[in-house]
């Protein structure tokens, strides 16, 4: 004879609850990924902006620009004060280039700074041409170090700087060889400008 038993159905609410929990977990995971993606995009954008800003800053040779602007003014007479200021700005510009290219030229530039300071503090000294030439030689040596380490193609420009320095006569007052002094300043500015323009393409 037959028999049929019945049973209480398994409650469905644990399954519904489980499905809701799983759904919630999936939702949180997906939303977290989306947030992370957005954060990553923001971070990437920020990093890119920072790198771009840093690169822009690195390309910004403020001291070189300032020096070139100073020596470009043909109306300024080559006085002792002018020579002192020009040397000081040329030294700063050379420091600028050396720092960015991570080259140590501190010995040459420190000596040049001392000489520049002497010219500035004692404008009546008769040894100005000597000091300008000597300072120019130290600066030229620093520029040679920078140029030869990274920009061998700029050797001819360096040679022009060296020639300009050698043309400054130690036994002639500065005021009588203004063109030689101005030429030196211009040639040094040209070399620094070329270094500035080729920055990031170190050879």
């Amino acid at each position: 004879m037959a028999e049929i038993k019945i049973k209480k159905k398994a409650p469905i609410w644990p399954w519904i609850l489980g499905a809701l929990v799983v759904g919630l977990i999936v939702y949180l995971l997906v939303s977290n990924d989306a947030v992370d993606d957005r954060d990553n995009i923001r971070v990437d954008a920020t990093e890119e902006a920072t790198v771009a800003s840093s690169f822009q800053e690195e390309r910004n040779f403020t001291d070189i620009d300032e020096y070139n602007a100073f020596v470009a003014d043909e109306n300024m007479d080559v006085t002792h004060e002018y020579s002192g200021n020009a040397l000081s700005k040329l030294i700063d510009a050379t420091w600028d280039a050396a720092d960015k290219l991570n080259i140590d030229v501190s010995a040459e530039l420190s000596r040049a700074e001392d000489l520049s300071e002497e010219i500035t503090t004692d404008p009546r000294s008769t040894e100005h041409a000597d000091k300008i030439k000597e300072a120019g030689q130290h600066i030229a040596q620093a520029l040679k170090t920078i140029q030869s380490a990274n920009y061998p193609d700029l050797n001819s420009q360096y040679m022009e700087v060296e020639t300009a320095v050698s043309n400054i006569k130690t036994d002639t007052p500065t005021l009588e060889q203004k063109d030689h002094v101005r030429t030196f300043f211009n040639k040094a500015g040209n070399l620094l400008t070329s270094i500035q323009n080729n920055y990031g393409q170190a050879q």
Partner: protein, 171 residues
């Protein structure tokens, strides 16, 4: 116990319950009498909630059974000729104790070797999904087992052979 036996439920009245795995849900199966004549179709299951088992098949009988127009059998003389005891229009269901049938799952058929066509025709019927009371149960069991007296209270009523798998050994 109330007049209506509330330990007895149509299965659809218990939405939290279902037929247990391994047992067939015989709703929709044809029901055959002792001579293999179809007397109706299982329309519902009447279950005892306490014991969690089916105790009756609720069968919608074929129109031929109704058209036979037999007066319901009653072992009690006091029911003879009583108007309320006659089958009324629309009363086309009867119940069969689960222990009095066999199930053929291959053919999805319910059959009994204990109740003949006339007995079914003479059994008091009820309406679809009508409440079942103990009095009706006693009438039905008395019809299927003529000469037997059926009385009982509570769920012990369903301990008798007509509701159990090994009915033959108990009778």
């Amino acid at each position: 116990m109330d007049k209506h036996n509330k330990n007895l439920y149509y299965l659809h009245e218990l939405p939290d319950y279902t037929v247990e795995d391994g047992y067939p849900d015989v709703r929709g199966w044809k029901v055959h009498d002792k001579s293999q004549r179809i007397i109706g179709t299982v329309d519902n299951l009447l279950v005892n909630k306490n014991t969690e088992r089916v105790v009756y098949l609720d069968v919608e009988v074929d129109s031929a059974i109704i058209q036979a127009n037999h007066q319901p059998y009653s072992s009690s003389a006091e029911n003879d000729g009583v108007h309320e005891f006659l089958n009324k229009d629309g009363e086309n269901h009867l119940i069969i104790p689960i222990g009095m049938v066999n199930l053929d799952e291959d053919s999805q058929t319910v059959f009994t070797d204990k109740i003949d066509y006339t007995t079914f025709a003479e059994t008091k019927r009820k309406g679809k999904e009508s409440p079942i009371d103990r009095e009706y149960e006693e009438w039905v069991l008395g019809s299927y087992n003529r000469g037997e007296e059926y009385t009982g209270e509570d769920d012990d009523f369903y301990d008798r052979g007509e509701f159990r798998r090994n009915m033959d050994t108990d009778l």
